[in-house]
């Protein structure tokens, strides 16, 4: 039983880091005033206030519309894309694969800003369209556009799940269908897609869930026409009553969690079924891609259009905007090219600190986070007792709390417990919030590495007399070291991308690019936003390049 002391302390600390902030949100939501006010009382006043606010219901409705729209767009497109990429002779599959990951790893804040400068009323593409067509046939600020853009940028999430299901599907069932006389299209319709339905269903719920918590896209694109979603409604509440209206924010947060938590539980349930038809065969037959025939170029054109709309339009916009002093009708590109934005960025200590912090939190913080995830992972590795089941559910809880809320909750933790207050102004506060927010993701990375270690290797070590701790140190950890390095790289990219968690923790010393983007955007600093966005994209791209170079599996 000696070995169980570290185990229990790891589990205890994790539980504390998860439940303390969440508990504080629930506690705050049941007060009639912010918790630091002397006149606070228990009551449902906060809920009464927001339920009486028509903006709340509008934003709730908008969240539903956007999340629903995303499912309708992302699931069919993602499923078709996965089939085309995994099973057919679609031209250019090799270089499309890494491109597909870009929307997953680039911050939505950056993408949203990219759409504004590319396709907004005076965006690059809009101005070009106006010159050619005489008018701009689109409006990126409408609710429909937000739903479409959110849907298109979430296609990769569906793609990743359904393609990994398709890859693990034995090719023999499809060959059997071809032998009985199915055309490629009939094979997809009657065999492949029905067999990956559990994965499609799972990713549908995932996309709906992500749609419910998106923040960056509606913040940037919904602002001009006043379309609020729950997350942006919460953000705007900060200043609604002049004083920090923490009780109202907590009430909204509880409402969001009330929707997301059941969705997370549903995902857990569906994920268990997602591998239902998966047959991992020892003998991987060499698979011949299904010939698409004359449909080959039609399919390629559809994929190219999607890549253009989702990746090229926003990223090219940012890249251009970062190097021009201004843009509009009648402006010649050659006359406005400038490096001034980058000079300004590097002249401002806050922004420089933000960039340094972002790199640090990705590299050092990422490594520390992986170490924490590994410690938690080892507490459940090869165990099936009550503690392991508790940790299983424990790590899912932060998944239900959108980053914005988690950042807010950690702010309150630092304010509520005076001994922790000195940490509030340090980058540690942001790192802690990031690590807890991405707990479920990190745990999945670590445990998929852990599961690859053959149980007999560990059993052999135990049978020659190693304790559990020694087995971990001498056998398990050395065996998964490459998996952990890969996890570090992925966590690095996720931490570079993260923007919403740092919003409420932003202060002198805790700047990161993500939260700086949100704050600069609200104060209208488009030049700085463009330059910082480009720097952010470059950081993510560096991580992605290293990952692809070393053949890191970017999805489990």
């Amino acid at each position: 039983m000696r070995a169980s002391l570290p185990r229990v302390s790891v589990i205890g600390l994790t539980a504390l880091a998860v439940f303390l902030p969440l508990g504080l949100i629930f506690y705050q939501s049941m007060l009639n005033a912010p918790f630091f006010m002397p006149n606070k009382t228990i009551g449902a006043g906060a809920f009464e206030f927001i339920f009486a606010d028509s903006d709340f219901w509008d934003s709730f409705k908008n969240s539903l519309v956007i999340a629903g729209g995303m499912v309708l767009i992302a699931v069919p497109l993602g499923g078709i894309l996965a089939f085309l990429m995994v099973r057919t002779d679609l031209p250019g599959r090799r270089w499309i694969e890494p491109l597909l990951l870009i929307p997953v790893f680039v911050s939505p804040m950056v993408l949203a800003f990219g759409y504004v400068v590319s396709a907004g009323p005076v965006g690059f593409y809009s101005v070009w369209a106006k010159q050619i067509l005489g008018g701009v046939p689109w409006n990126v600020y409408s609710l429909t556009s937000i739903a479409i853009i959110a849907g298109l940028t979430h296609v990769p999430h569906v793609y990743l799940y359904s393609s990994s299901a398709l890859k693990s599907l034995g090719s023999d069932v499809e060959e059997a269908a071809r032998m009985t006389g199915s055309s490629p299209f009939q094979v997809a319709r009657d065999v492949s897609l029905p067999m990956v339905t559990p994965s499609l269903l799972y990713s549908g719920v995932l996309v709906f869930f992500l749609g419910f918590e998106i923040f960056g896209l509606p913040l940037v694109l919904g602002d001009p026409e006043g379309h609020l979603v729950l997350a942006t409604y919460l953000y705007k509440l900060t200043n609604k009553l002049g004083t920090p209206s923490y009780h109202l924010m907590a009430a909204v947060a509880v409402c969001i969690v009330a929707v997301t938590f059941p969705l997370v539980m549903l995902q857990r349930h569906l994920l268990k079924n997602a591998g239902k038809y998966v047959t991992v065969k020892g003998k991987a037959g060499r698979q011949r891609p299904l010939p698409l025939g004359q449909w080959r170029w039609v399919a390629a054109a559809i994929v190219a259009l999607w890549l253009f709309l989702t990746i090229i339009v926003p990223l090219s916009g940012i890249a251009l905007r970062a190097f021009v002093s201004q843009w509009g009708e009648g402006i010649k590109l050659s006359e406005v090219l400038t490096l001034d934005h980058f000079r300004t960025v590097f002249e401002q200590p806050t922004l420089v600190r933000g960039i340094v912090n972002t790199v640090l939190i990705g590299v050092v913080g990422g490594a520390l986070a992986v170490a924490c995830y590994t410690a938690v992972g080892l507490t459940t590795h090869r165990r099936n007792d009550g503690w392991a089941r508790f940790v299983d559910y424990l790590v899912l809880v932060p998944r239900a709390v959108p980053g914005l809320l988690a950042g807010l909750a950690f702010l309150w933790v630092f304010l509520f417990f005076p001994p922790l207050a000195p940490l509030r102004g340090t980058i540690f506060s942001v790192w802690l919030a990031y690590t807890v927010v991405w707990l479920a993701y990190g745990m999945r990375l670590v445990s998929s590495s852990l599961l690859q270690v053959g149980p007999e290797l560990e059993e052999a070590a135990r049978s020659v007399g190693a304790t559990r701790g020694q087995v971990n140190r001498h056998v398990t950890l050395p065996l998964i070291r490459f998996g952990l390095l890969a996890s570090w790289l992925l966590v690095f990219m996720i931490f570079e991308r993260e923007y919403s968690t740092g919003v409420y923790l932003l202060g002198p010393g805790t700047e990161v690019i993500g939260s700086l983007l949100v704050s600069l955007w609200s104060t209208g600093g488009a030049d700085m936003v463009a330059a910082l966005s480009l720097i952010n994209v470059v950081l993510v791209a560096a991580g992605l390049t290293i990952a692809l170079r070393f053949g890191v599996n970017l999805h489990d």
Partner: protein, 352 residues
């Protein structure tokens, strides 16, 4: 009528040549087995016939109509070849019931639903699955799944049925029963079948003709009796049956017979695979069941030390030492260790 003809088929995976010029034919109502060790190309040949692999060159014809012709760059897609294929893994669609699995091929052929029902029921009845139509594949035993896979491949009456190791997923006891059952079914329904197997007993029991593949070429083909009784190469002789191999030096060649000798022994055997010069090395082979324990000295007999006797239930297996080599033989009773005389009949010892 020739149901299936393959001429000079070549196929590679990259630089790795798998088939190096294979020709074969399958007649109406005939069962041909593709036999060979793993990596010999037998499954690749079957998959090329099915249209699941693309050969480099050669011709494949089904009922005298070409489905692949390398010289004309002509290829009929797998789904248009109208063949039945039974997969090694069965490849039943787990989301469809047994009935729907079998009916799928008929649906694709736009058969009216009343007729589909009747034909599927009929097929299931024929295969002893009559009551299982509503089940899902995972609710069936391995043997039942195999029958569903066969029913699915037969129901639309393909001209040729292809089977990829149809029995290998069954456990040993069930396999022997299934083998007899499958042979009976093939005869009853007058199927023309091409069967891949790596098990020589299975190939001999099930087929009218065996094609022995080795390293991408056909080593020998013939009826099971020819393959077992008159192998033309050492590989063919060794692949079929359980054998003793004896290595020695040729000391005399006379009238189609060769005298092979080693330290302290010499044996006459039939010359196979071309004449050998005196003094050259040669390998002789004899089936285990042809070696006989004898009472005393005689023609083509050697006296060898018995190492051990192993009880196999229906017989004993003896292990002898012949210099560095081991010689095995069968017998009816347990022998005491010590020296024994062994008779190696001249006609059954093949010198290659």
């Amino acid at each position: 009528m020739t149901k299936l003809a393959v001429q000079d088929l070549h196929l590679s995976y990259g630089d790795n040549a798998i088939l190096k010029g294979v020709s074969m034919a399958l007649q109406q109502g005939e069962v041909v087995s593709l036999l060979g060790p793993s990596g010999s190309g037998k499954t690749t040949l079957l998959r090329a016939v099915a249209g699941l692999e693309v050969p480099l060159r050669g011709v494949i014809q089904i009922e005298d109509k070409p489905v692949f012709d390398g010289s004309k760059n002509f290829e009929v897609a797998a789904e248009k070849r109208n063949l039945g294929l039974v997969f090694q893994s069965y490849a039943l669609w787990p989301h469809k019931t047994v009935f729907d699995n079998v009916a799928y091929g008929l649906k694709l052929r736009s058969v009216p639903s009343g007729e589909i029902k009747q034909r599927v029921d009929n097929a299931l009845q024929n295969l002893g699955l009559g009551h299982l139509g509503d089940r899902l594949p995972h609710q069936l035993s391995g043997g039942q799944q195999q029958r569903v896979a066969i029913a699915r491949a037969l129901v639309y009456n393909p001209p040729v049925i292809l089977m990829d190791e149809p029995l290998s997923n069954l456990d040993a006891k069930l396999r022997e029963e299934a083998r007899a059952w499958l042979r009976e079914l093939i005869l009853k329904m007058q199927l023309s079948a091409l069967v891949v197997t790596h098990d020589q007993n299975e190939a001999m029991a099930m087929s009218d003709r065996i094609l022995l593949l080795n390293n991408g070429v056909i080593e020998q083909q013939g009826t099971p009796e020819e393959m077992y009784g008159r192998p033309q190469t050492l590989f063919a002789a060794d692949f079929m049956g359980s054998n003793n191999k004896i290595e020695g030096t040729v000391s005399e060649v006379r009238n189609g017979a060769t005298l092979l000798a080693g330290p302290g022994w010499s044996l006459w055997g039939e010359s196979r695979g071309g004449a050998k010069a005196s003094g050259s090395k040669a390998t002789a082979m004899i089936r285990l069941e042809r070696v006989r324990v004898a009472e005393g000295p005689g023609e083509n007999r050697v006296k060898l030390p018995l190492v051990t006797s192993m009880y196999l239930g229906d017989k004993w297996e003896y292990l002898f030492h012949l210099g560095e080599m081991r010689l095995r033989a069968y017998g009816r009773e347990s022998l005491s260790t010590g020296e024994q005389w062994l008779e190696i009949p001249k006609n059954d010892l093949w010198v290659f």
